[in-house]
Structure formats: C-alpha cells, structure tokens
C-alpha cells in the first residue's frame, strides 16, 4: 500500500492514460448504487448492534467508534506520562528528600522546592513546599528519571487538565500528595508550606488506576 500522496501524484501524472468509462459507468448509476449499498450496510449493521446492546447481546462488538468521553476513557498505554504525583511514606509524609535533582534536571524549570530539616537523622531533608507549574511542564519525564527515591511519578492517568487561568495550572504540595483533592472552583495556592504533622493529616488519595486501564481516576472525598 503506497502512501496517499503517491497515489494522488500517480493519478495526476497518469491522467492522460485514464481508462475510458463505458456507457453504463458514465450514467454513474452503478457507482451511486454501490455507495448507497455501503452506507446502508453500515446503517443496518449499527442499528442492529445498538438494539442488541440494549438487550445485552454482542457487548464486545462496538456499534460506533465513539468514546463517550467523560463517562468512558480511551485506553491509555502503559508508558504514557500523565499528571505528576508525589508518593508518600507509610505515615503519610512525602517520600521526597528535597535533593533538588528534579528541580535541577527540569528543562522547563517548572518545579519549585523549598527544603526543610527532617527530625529523623536517617532521612536527609523534607520538602516544606513542592510546587509544580503544569502551565510550563513539557511532560518530558526527566524528573521521574532523576528521582533517587521514587518520590515523583507520572502515573495518575489524569490527562484532562484544564483551567481558566495560568494560576489554575499550579499544583501545590497538597494536590501533588493527594491527586484530585483540590476542587475545581478553589482559588489556586502557591508555595504552601506544610509541617510533618500536617502532611500526615492530608487525605489519602486512592491509588491511581493501573496503566492501560480505561477507568477514570477517582477523586478524593
């Protein structure tokens, strides 16, 4: 199968040796009948399938190519990079140690970390605030690659990101730790600084749906 552009080129180049249509073909009646047959075949097949679906039959055979978006999701590929989240320890504090690797490697410079002391001497540091500007993010995934602690992931399966202003694209640490917890109507917050105790009290977001599923990610609360 050659490319469409090649086919079109051939058609233009070979126009002079185009086949003469016969008298019957030049009435265009057979071509019209063919076209009507094709579309009516689609019509009756899809009508039958729609009725069968209502009756609970042939669920596996789709009657249309439509994905009813907010209710149904397109199946995502396992390697798809979706919106970021920060992973958490058992006690609810962020796994992040504020090493600044992601902030340094980020080519769009959309990550802003404010580091603070962690009382546990075994843990290097803890982010007081961790902000990510999705309006700048280019979804390269370098932050995930760079992270030595598996603290940032891009697997929330959320790709329907929209906002009325640039401020609305701003993710603070509360939203990053519990994806889906911020209401759409809430005003954006920047550089929210939380203590360890406040981290533990943040709501626990349900685990994101596994990669490759077609269920929408759930919302906290």
């Amino acid at each position: 199968m050659t490319r469409l552009s090649d086919q079109l080129l051939h058609r233009i180049r070979d126009a002079h040796k185009r086949r003469k249509l016969s008298w019957w073909e030049r009435t265009y009646l057979p071509a019209i009948a063919q076209g009507l047959l094709l579309t009516s075949n689609h019509f009756w097949r899809n009508l039958g399938l729609h009725i069968a679906h209502r009756l609970g039959l042939f669920r596996g055979v789709p009657a249309s190519v439509t994905i009813q978006y907010p209710d149904q999701r397109r199946k995502t590929e396992p390697r798809l990079r979706t919106r970021h989240r920060l992973t958490r320890r058992e006690d609810g504090t962020p796994r992040c140690v504020a090493c600044m690797m992601c902030e340094t490697v980020c080519p769009a410079r959309c990550i802003y970390i404010v580091a603070g002391e962690h009382p546990d001497p075994n843990i290097e540091k803890v982010p007081k605030s961790f902000d990510l500007d999705l309006g700048k993010c280019i979804y390269c995934g370098f932050c995930v690659e760079a992270c030595p602690e598996d603290a940032i992931r891009m697997d929330t399966q959320r790709h329907d990101i929209s906002a009325y202003s640039r401020d609305g694209m701003w993710l603070d640490i509360k939203e990053l730790l519990a994806p889906g917890s911020k209401k759409f109507t809430e005003p954006p917050e920047r550089f929210v600084q939380l203590t360890l105790e406040e981290f533990k009290r943040l709501p626990r977001a349900p685990e994101p749906p596994p990669p490759g599923s077609d269920t929408p990610p759930s919302v906290v609360g």
Binding site: G35, S40, H42, F43, N46, L47
Partner: protein, 378 residues
C-alpha cells in the same frame, strides 16, 4: 345538517393529514441526526433531556424523558425552542412585508399540496363514504404539481426581499435550479398518466391494485422504471437537499435565506423536510402502489398461490393507511440515505443533468410509452 357533517369530516381528515405530515417533517430533524450518525459509525444526539417537577408526573415521566433523550428525540424539541427564542432580525434594506411573507408562502404551498394525495381507501362509515383524501379533485396530479411549483415563490421572494446581493443571487440560483428540474418532473409523469389514463390520484392508486398475470402488482415502478427514476431524481432536486443543495449549502455557500434568523429560518428548514415528505408521498402514490397492499382486495387477501384471508372493512382501511405510512417512511429513509451518501453537484453538472439528461430522457419515456400503449391496445 348534511353540510355540517361533511364539513366536520373534511376537518377531521385534514387534521389527520396535517398532523401526520408535520410530525413526519419534525421527526426528520431527529432522523437526520440519528441516521447520519449510524451510517458514519457514530452515536449521534443522545444528551438533550429535561426533568419535570413532581406535580407534572414526576419520576415515571422523567424516566420516559430520560429514555427519549437517550435516543436523541428531545433534540428536535430543543431545536424548536432555540429557534423560537432567537432574535428575529429583519435587515434595514429588506422589504419588511415580503421578507416576512416568504417563509410562510414557501411552507404553505408545500403543506397544501398534500390535500390531493389519498392516504387510504375510502371508508364506509354509518352508510356514508368518506374518502381519505382532503381534496377529492379529479385532476389531483396537476394540483400537486402546480402547488409544488408555486413553492418557488417563497424561495425567490426570500432572496429578493432580503436587501442583500448574496441572498438575491442565492434566490436566483435556487430558481433556475428548480425551474430546470420542474420541467423534467412534470414531463416524467406524463408516461405514468398515459399508462393509468387518469389524473385523479385516487384512481391512479386504485389502478395500481390490479395484478399482471395474476401475481405481479401493477405498480408504476414496473410500468415506468425510467419515469420513476427521472421523477425521483428531479423531485430530490426540488427538495433542495444534498446532492442538489446548491441553493442552500448551509455550511459554505450563501443561500437565499442568508438574511433570515430565528423561526423564519426554521420555517425554510421545515419546508425542506415537508417537501421530502411530499416527494416520498408522491413517489409512493404514483409508482409504488399508494395505499395498496399487494394481494389485498376490499374483502380480504387473495394470494396468487390460491389461499385467501378475509379482512373486515375497517381492517382493510387500517391496513391501507399503515401500508401508505410504511412506504412513505421507507422513502424518507431512502432520501436521507442519498442525502448522507452522495456529494454535492457542481453547478454546471447540475444544469447538465437537468436539461441534457433528465429532460430528454423523460421525453423519450413519453414516446416509448405512447407507442407501447397504442400497440398494446390494437
């Protein structure tokens, strides 16, 4: 006394026809969306719905409304609501009276044409014969054709009275197209008239109930295949829908109703749908046996293989009405299929088809039909 009863009967029949036609026309807005969706592997309209408060029926009514909304039927209602609440703009340059008159004229004549079409066999009720036909004219075919051609006035008035050059050009384009196909439309029917020997549509339908060799219904499409093809093509061009939609071309060509808004535009739109119903009804009446059910005589079915099944008079009438409706719906479906399958003609192709193909073909059809009829009557 007799006059009043006749008047009430006429009123009832006309309400039946009018209600049926307007409902078919309105439902075409739904059919258009849903059928095109199914043909193109889409789902189509399925979201418009509304809920009623408890004192209007509450939950059970809402359940039905949700189901109807899921089928997309309520979209037609939403459309009409939208059109009625839109601002009605009359351009400053326009002739206010003619600008308002045009859509009404165009719809009125499309609706009146249904008066001559028989929708069922005559009913014998309380010793009285009621023809299921609003106007029992003996030149019904001419009446329908005349009213259909007056419909052009709505189009050309809409274009000329808008005070816009583009709308005027659209009106002219529409007029020259409709005139070109009007001729082929009329001439293609002469063959059928020769075959049936009558202009009365009821008589034409009754003659299509005869059988050839005892089994083949005497339908017009078998007697006049070329006439049927030419008539359907020309009639499709008269409805100004897609393969022939150069007068309108809603998405890109500016048509004669460019300066119309709100329900006046809606009336032009509705006229198109009414004309589709009219063409479907005419095709049924003239070429596909009208209200005739094959092998159904007034006293019951008489099958060619010998069996018979008695049917009461009321059953006969109801079967006739149902047959007519089913045929009309099938043709509306078929025209919609054509509308969503074929691409639009170029204007020179349109004129070529109208003047150089369909018109000579219909003349040839008359000649051949006349010779055959004369030879057969020897």
């Amino acid at each position: 006394m007799d006059l009043w009863i006749n008047l009430w009967i006429k009123l009832g029949v006309s309400l039946l026809v009018l209600g049926g036609v307007l409902n078919f026309a309105g439902m075409q807005a739904w059919l258009e969306r849903k059928q095109s969706a199914l043909m193109q592997d889409r789902i189509g309209a399925n979201r418009a719905t509304f809920t009623v408060p408890w004192w209007l029926g509450g939950a059970p009514v809402n359940w039905v409304l949700r189901k109807l909304g899921g089928l997309g039927i309520l979209n037609a209602l939403a459309d009409v609501l939208k059109l009625f609440t839109k601002e009605d703009i009359v351009p400053a340059q326009a002739d206010r009276f003619l600008h308002t008159l045009a859509p009404w004229l165009s719809m009125f004549f499309a609706l009146v044409a249904f008066a001559a079409i028989p929708i069922g066999p005559p009913v014998e009720l309380f010793g009285r014969t009621i023809p299921l036909q609003v106007a029992d004219v003996n030149a019904g075919l001419l009446v329908v054709l005349a009213l259909a051609s007056i419909g052009i006035y709505g189009v050309i008035l809409g274009g000329m009275s808008s005070g816009s050059n583009l709308a005027a050009l659209g009106g002219l384009r529409a007029t020259s197209q409709m005139l070109a196909y009007e001729i082929a439309l009329g001439v293609s029917l002469i063959g059928a008239v020769i075959c049936y020997g009558s202009l009365d549509l009821q008589a034409i339908v009754e003659r299509q109930g005869l059988l050839w060799w005892g089994w083949l219904p005497n339908w017009g499409v078998l007697l006049q295949p070329v006439g049927c093809l030419v008539f359907m093509t020309a009639a499709l061009a008269e409805t100004k829908r897609v393969p022939f939609d150069l007068p309108e071309g809603e998405p890109e060509i500016i048509g004669y109703f460019a300066e119309y808004s709100g329900m006046k535009f809606g009336l032009f739109f509705l006229t198109d749908f009414i004309e589709v119903v009219l063409v479907a009804a005419l095709t049924t009446t003239l070429f596909f046996g009208g209200w005739q059910v094959p092998y159904l005589a007034p006293d019951g079915f008489r099958f060619p293989w010998g069996g018979s099944l008695p049917v009461s008079h009321l059953g006969y009438v109801i079967l006739g009405l149902v047959a007519f409706t089913v045929k009309v719906v099938a043709f509306i479906w078929f025209f919609m299929l054509i509308r969503w399958t074929l691409p639009r003609f170029r204007y020179d192709q349109l004129m070529h088809l109208g003047w150089k193909v369909l018109f000579p073909l219909s003349l040839l059809n008359i000649a051949v039909t006349s010779v055959v009829v004369v030879l057969a009557s020897r």
